[in-house]
Assembly symmetry: C2
Homo-oligomer: 149 residues x 2
Protein backbone atom coordinates (compact mmCIF):
# COMPACT_ATOMS: atom_id res chain seq x y z
CA UNK A 1 0.00 0.00 0.00
CA UNK A 2 2.74 2.40 1.06
CA UNK A 3 4.80 1.13 -1.82
CA UNK A 4 2.07 1.90 -4.32
CA UNK A 5 1.93 5.50 -3.13
CA UNK A 6 5.69 5.96 -3.19
CA UNK A 7 5.94 4.47 -6.64
CA UNK A 8 3.80 7.31 -7.86
CA UNK A 9 5.66 9.95 -5.84
CA UNK A 10 2.73 10.53 -3.55
CA UNK A 11 3.93 11.58 -0.13
CA UNK A 12 2.70 9.20 2.54
CA UNK A 13 0.83 10.47 5.57
CA UNK A 14 -1.32 8.50 8.00
CA UNK A 15 -4.47 10.20 6.69
CA UNK A 16 -3.62 9.51 3.08
CA UNK A 17 -2.78 5.94 3.75
CA UNK A 18 -6.05 5.41 5.60
CA UNK A 19 -8.08 7.09 2.88
CA UNK A 20 -6.39 5.10 0.16
CA UNK A 21 -6.84 1.83 2.06
CA UNK A 22 -10.52 2.45 2.64
CA UNK A 23 -11.04 3.30 -0.97
CA UNK A 24 -9.39 0.12 -2.17
CA UNK A 25 -11.01 -2.12 0.45
CA UNK A 26 -14.50 -0.75 -0.09
CA UNK A 27 -15.96 -2.06 -3.28
CA UNK A 28 -18.89 0.32 -3.36
CA UNK A 29 -17.28 3.34 -4.96
CA UNK A 30 -17.63 5.70 -2.03
CA UNK A 31 -17.88 9.47 -2.04
CA UNK A 32 -15.60 11.79 -0.08
CA UNK A 33 -18.27 12.09 2.58
CA UNK A 34 -18.58 8.31 2.96
CA UNK A 35 -14.86 7.87 3.46
CA UNK A 36 -14.74 10.81 5.82
CA UNK A 37 -17.47 9.51 8.08
CA UNK A 38 -15.85 6.10 8.18
CA UNK A 39 -12.45 7.46 9.24
CA UNK A 40 -13.63 10.08 11.66
CA UNK A 41 -13.37 7.62 14.56
CA UNK A 42 -9.85 6.62 13.74
CA UNK A 43 -8.77 10.19 13.01
CA UNK A 44 -10.93 12.55 15.05
CA UNK A 45 -9.09 15.55 13.64
CA UNK A 46 -9.62 14.52 10.02
CA UNK A 47 -11.57 16.98 7.91
CA UNK A 48 -13.59 16.58 4.76
CA UNK A 49 -11.21 18.98 3.05
CA UNK A 50 -8.36 16.55 3.48
CA UNK A 51 -10.44 13.75 2.04
CA UNK A 52 -11.25 15.89 -0.99
CA UNK A 53 -7.61 16.86 -1.43
CA UNK A 54 -6.45 13.30 -1.07
CA UNK A 55 -8.94 11.83 -3.51
CA UNK A 56 -7.93 14.44 -6.02
CA UNK A 57 -4.28 13.65 -5.49
CA UNK A 58 -4.84 9.92 -5.77
CA UNK A 59 -6.87 10.26 -8.89
CA UNK A 60 -4.43 12.63 -10.58
CA UNK A 61 -1.72 10.11 -9.75
CA UNK A 62 -3.64 7.30 -11.34
CA UNK A 63 -4.22 5.46 -8.07
CA UNK A 64 -7.97 5.73 -8.24
CA UNK A 65 -10.58 7.07 -10.60
CA UNK A 66 -13.76 9.01 -10.50
CA UNK A 67 -16.80 6.96 -11.41
CA UNK A 68 -18.72 10.06 -12.44
CA UNK A 69 -16.62 12.55 -14.31
CA UNK A 70 -17.51 15.97 -15.66
CA UNK A 71 -18.81 16.87 -12.32
CA UNK A 72 -18.67 20.66 -12.30
CA UNK A 73 -22.24 21.07 -13.51
CA UNK A 74 -24.94 19.00 -15.14
CA UNK A 75 -24.99 19.00 -18.93
CA UNK A 76 -27.94 18.10 -21.07
CA UNK A 77 -28.35 16.71 -24.56
CA UNK A 78 -31.38 17.39 -26.72
CA UNK A 79 -30.58 14.37 -28.84
CA UNK A 80 -32.06 11.27 -27.26
CA UNK A 81 -30.98 8.84 -29.97
CA UNK A 82 -28.19 6.48 -29.05
CA UNK A 83 -24.78 8.02 -29.51
CA UNK A 84 -21.45 8.30 -27.76
CA UNK A 85 -19.52 11.25 -26.41
CA UNK A 86 -15.99 12.55 -26.58
CA UNK A 87 -15.43 14.62 -23.46
CA UNK A 88 -12.52 16.99 -23.06
CA UNK A 89 -11.05 16.65 -19.59
CA UNK A 90 -9.77 20.21 -19.67
CA UNK A 91 -12.49 22.43 -21.13
CA UNK A 92 -15.40 20.02 -20.63
CA UNK A 93 -16.46 20.34 -24.23
CA UNK A 94 -18.65 17.45 -25.41
CA UNK A 95 -18.48 16.13 -28.97
CA UNK A 96 -20.94 13.65 -30.41
CA UNK A 97 -20.04 10.36 -31.98
CA UNK A 98 -22.86 9.08 -34.11
CA UNK A 99 -23.27 5.77 -35.87
CA UNK A 100 -20.37 4.01 -34.22
CA UNK A 101 -21.28 0.35 -34.06
CA UNK A 102 -20.24 -1.51 -30.98
CA UNK A 103 -21.09 -4.86 -29.56
CA UNK A 104 -21.12 -5.99 -26.02
CA UNK A 105 -22.42 -9.06 -24.30
CA UNK A 106 -23.34 -8.79 -20.65
CA UNK A 107 -22.74 -11.77 -18.37
CA UNK A 108 -25.79 -13.84 -17.51
CA UNK A 109 -25.90 -12.82 -13.84
CA UNK A 110 -26.72 -9.26 -14.83
CA UNK A 111 -30.23 -10.19 -15.98
CA UNK A 112 -31.09 -11.34 -12.45
CA UNK A 113 -29.43 -8.45 -10.64
CA UNK A 114 -29.98 -5.40 -12.69
CA UNK A 115 -32.61 -4.11 -15.06
CA UNK A 116 -30.81 -2.09 -17.69
CA UNK A 117 -32.68 0.95 -19.00
CA UNK A 118 -29.96 2.53 -21.07
CA UNK A 119 -26.24 2.84 -21.35
CA UNK A 120 -23.53 5.36 -21.92
CA UNK A 121 -20.21 5.21 -23.68
CA UNK A 122 -17.83 8.11 -23.33
CA UNK A 123 -14.23 8.76 -24.20
CA UNK A 124 -12.15 11.15 -22.15
CA UNK A 125 -9.13 13.04 -23.31
CA UNK A 126 -8.17 16.32 -24.90
CA UNK A 127 -9.89 18.19 -27.70
CA UNK A 128 -7.64 19.72 -30.33
CA UNK A 129 -7.58 23.16 -28.77
CA UNK A 130 -6.65 21.83 -25.35
CA UNK A 131 -3.96 19.62 -26.87
CA UNK A 132 -2.39 22.75 -28.33
CA UNK A 133 -2.69 24.70 -25.07
CA UNK A 134 -1.21 21.83 -23.13
CA UNK A 135 1.75 21.52 -25.48
CA UNK A 136 2.41 25.27 -25.48
CA UNK A 137 1.77 25.75 -21.79
CA UNK A 138 3.48 24.24 -18.80
CA UNK A 139 4.26 20.61 -18.19
CA UNK A 140 0.60 20.05 -17.44
CA UNK A 141 -1.07 17.44 -19.54
CA UNK A 142 1.85 15.05 -19.48
CA UNK A 143 0.18 13.19 -16.68
CA UNK A 144 -3.40 12.26 -17.49
CA UNK A 145 -5.13 14.95 -15.49
CA UNK A 146 -7.98 13.10 -13.90
CA UNK A 147 -8.63 9.55 -14.89
CA UNK A 148 -12.04 8.13 -15.11
CA UNK A 149 -13.63 4.72 -15.35
Amino acid sequence: MVKLLKERDVQVTPQRLAIFERLVIRKDHPSAEMIYSELTHEFPSLTLVTVYNTLQKLSSSGLCCKVNPLHSSARYDGNTTAHMHLICSTCEKVLDLHDVPFSIELPDWVAGEFQVANHMVAFFGLCRQCQISAAAGSTEGINPASRTA
Copy 2:
Protein backbone atom coordinates in the same frame (compact mmCIF):
# COMPACT_ATOMS: atom_id res chain seq x y z
CA MET B 1 -41.85 21.19 -31.07
CA VAL B 2 -45.10 21.87 -29.24
CA LYS B 3 -46.39 18.56 -30.49
CA LEU B 4 -43.42 16.70 -29.05
CA LEU B 5 -44.11 18.18 -25.64
CA LYS B 6 -47.82 17.42 -25.74
CA GLU B 7 -47.19 13.89 -26.88
CA ARG B 8 -45.38 13.33 -23.62
CA ASP B 9 -47.99 15.13 -21.54
CA VAL B 10 -45.67 17.98 -20.76
CA GLN B 11 -47.64 21.18 -20.27
CA VAL B 12 -46.51 23.86 -22.71
CA THR B 13 -45.45 27.28 -21.48
CA PRO B 14 -43.45 29.91 -23.36
CA GLN B 15 -40.47 29.37 -21.07
CA ARG B 16 -40.53 25.63 -21.49
CA LEU B 17 -40.84 25.84 -25.20
CA ALA B 18 -37.91 28.24 -25.42
CA ILE B 19 -35.74 26.10 -23.15
CA PHE B 20 -36.56 22.96 -25.10
CA GLU B 21 -35.88 24.66 -28.44
CA ARG B 22 -32.53 25.98 -27.31
CA LEU B 23 -31.53 22.63 -26.01
CA VAL B 24 -32.35 20.88 -29.26
CA ILE B 25 -30.84 23.60 -31.47
CA ARG B 26 -27.60 23.86 -29.53
CA LYS B 27 -25.36 20.91 -30.23
CA ASP B 28 -22.94 21.59 -27.43
CA HIS B 29 -24.74 19.94 -24.55
CA PRO B 30 -25.36 23.05 -22.49
CA SER B 31 -25.77 23.36 -18.74
CA ALA B 32 -28.75 25.01 -17.05
CA GLU B 33 -26.68 28.14 -16.61
CA MET B 34 -25.79 28.31 -20.32
CA ILE B 35 -29.40 28.05 -21.39
CA TYR B 36 -30.44 30.55 -18.79
CA SER B 37 -27.98 33.20 -19.88
CA GLU B 38 -28.98 32.74 -23.49
CA LEU B 39 -32.68 33.21 -22.79
CA THR B 40 -32.43 35.98 -20.29
CA HIS B 41 -32.77 38.60 -23.05
CA GLU B 42 -35.87 37.04 -24.52
CA PHE B 43 -37.39 36.37 -21.08
CA PRO B 44 -36.08 38.95 -18.64
CA SER B 45 -38.15 37.44 -15.85
CA LEU B 46 -36.81 33.93 -16.38
CA THR B 47 -34.95 32.44 -13.44
CA LEU B 48 -32.38 29.72 -13.18
CA VAL B 49 -34.79 27.77 -11.00
CA THR B 50 -37.21 27.46 -13.87
CA VAL B 51 -34.46 26.23 -16.15
CA TYR B 52 -33.51 23.61 -13.60
CA ASN B 53 -37.13 22.55 -13.18
CA THR B 54 -37.70 22.40 -16.90
CA LEU B 55 -34.59 20.39 -17.69
CA GLN B 56 -35.57 17.94 -14.99
CA LYS B 57 -39.07 17.69 -16.41
CA LEU B 58 -37.84 17.24 -19.97
CA SER B 59 -35.36 14.61 -18.99
CA SER B 60 -37.84 12.67 -16.88
CA SER B 61 -40.20 12.76 -19.86
CA GLY B 62 -37.55 11.36 -22.16
CA LEU B 63 -37.25 14.54 -24.21
CA CYS B 64 -33.62 15.12 -23.35
CA CYS B 65 -30.92 13.41 -21.38
CA LYS B 66 -28.20 14.27 -18.95
CA VAL B 67 -24.73 13.81 -20.36
CA ASN B 68 -23.26 13.39 -16.90
CA PRO B 69 -25.44 11.33 -14.66
CA LEU B 70 -25.03 10.44 -11.00
CA HIS B 71 -24.46 14.01 -10.24
CA SER B 72 -25.28 14.31 -6.56
CA SER B 73 -21.70 13.79 -5.45
CA ALA B 74 -18.44 12.52 -6.85
CA ARG B 75 -17.78 8.81 -6.44
CA TYR B 76 -14.39 7.16 -6.57
CA ASP B 77 -13.17 3.72 -7.50
CA GLY B 78 -10.03 2.20 -6.05
CA ASN B 79 -9.84 -0.23 -8.93
CA THR B 80 -8.06 1.36 -11.86
CA THR B 81 -8.17 -1.63 -14.16
CA ALA B 82 -10.54 -1.42 -17.09
CA HIS B 83 -14.06 -2.38 -16.16
CA MET B 84 -17.63 -1.24 -16.65
CA HIS B 85 -20.29 -0.09 -14.22
CA LEU B 86 -23.92 -0.84 -13.56
CA ILE B 87 -25.39 2.26 -11.94
CA CYS B 88 -28.73 2.25 -10.18
CA SER B 89 -30.69 5.36 -11.10
CA THR B 90 -32.60 5.25 -7.85
CA CYS B 91 -30.17 4.49 -5.04
CA GLU B 92 -26.97 5.40 -6.94
CA LYS B 93 -25.39 2.06 -6.08
CA VAL B 94 -22.52 1.15 -8.40
CA LEU B 95 -21.80 -2.45 -9.37
CA ASP B 96 -18.70 -3.58 -11.21
CA LEU B 97 -18.67 -5.50 -14.44
CA HIS B 98 -15.34 -7.16 -14.99
CA ASP B 99 -13.99 -9.00 -17.98
CA VAL B 100 -16.70 -8.02 -20.40
CA PRO B 101 -15.12 -7.92 -23.82
CA PHE B 102 -16.30 -5.22 -26.16
CA SER B 103 -15.07 -3.90 -29.43
CA ILE B 104 -15.47 -0.50 -30.91
CA GLU B 105 -13.95 1.22 -33.88
CA LEU B 106 -13.78 4.99 -33.81
CA PRO B 107 -14.21 6.91 -37.07
CA ASP B 108 -11.01 8.21 -38.64
CA TRP B 109 -11.75 11.87 -37.99
CA VAL B 110 -11.46 11.30 -34.27
CA ALA B 111 -7.69 10.79 -34.46
CA GLY B 112 -7.26 14.33 -35.77
CA GLU B 113 -9.73 15.97 -33.40
CA PHE B 114 -9.43 14.27 -30.11
CA GLN B 115 -6.70 12.54 -28.16
CA VAL B 116 -8.34 9.74 -26.23
CA ALA B 117 -6.86 9.02 -22.80
CA ASN B 118 -9.42 6.57 -21.52
CA HIS B 119 -13.03 5.60 -21.81
CA MET B 120 -16.01 4.69 -19.75
CA VAL B 121 -18.90 2.33 -20.30
CA ALA B 122 -21.82 2.42 -17.90
CA PHE B 123 -25.26 0.93 -17.82
CA PHE B 124 -28.09 2.71 -16.05
CA GLY B 125 -31.18 1.12 -14.64
CA LEU B 126 -32.47 -0.40 -11.44
CA CYS B 127 -30.69 -2.68 -9.02
CA ARG B 128 -32.69 -5.60 -7.66
CA GLN B 129 -33.68 -3.88 -4.44
CA CYS B 130 -34.93 -0.81 -6.24
CA GLN B 131 -36.84 -2.94 -8.74
CA ILE B 132 -38.69 -4.46 -5.81
CA SER B 133 -39.33 -1.10 -4.14
CA ALA B 134 -40.56 0.36 -7.41
CA ALA B 135 -42.96 -2.53 -7.99
CA ALA B 136 -44.26 -2.45 -4.43
CA GLY B 137 -44.39 1.31 -4.15
CA SER B 138 -46.32 3.85 -6.18
CA THR B 139 -46.57 4.10 -9.93
CA GLU B 140 -43.04 5.47 -9.98
CA GLY B 141 -40.65 3.56 -12.10
CA ILE B 142 -43.06 3.00 -14.95
CA ASN B 143 -41.56 5.93 -16.73
CA PRO B 144 -37.79 5.72 -16.97
CA ALA B 145 -36.90 8.10 -14.16
CA SER B 146 -34.01 10.04 -15.60
CA ARG B 147 -32.54 9.00 -18.87
CA THR B 148 -28.94 9.35 -19.66
CA ALA B 149 -26.71 9.20 -22.70
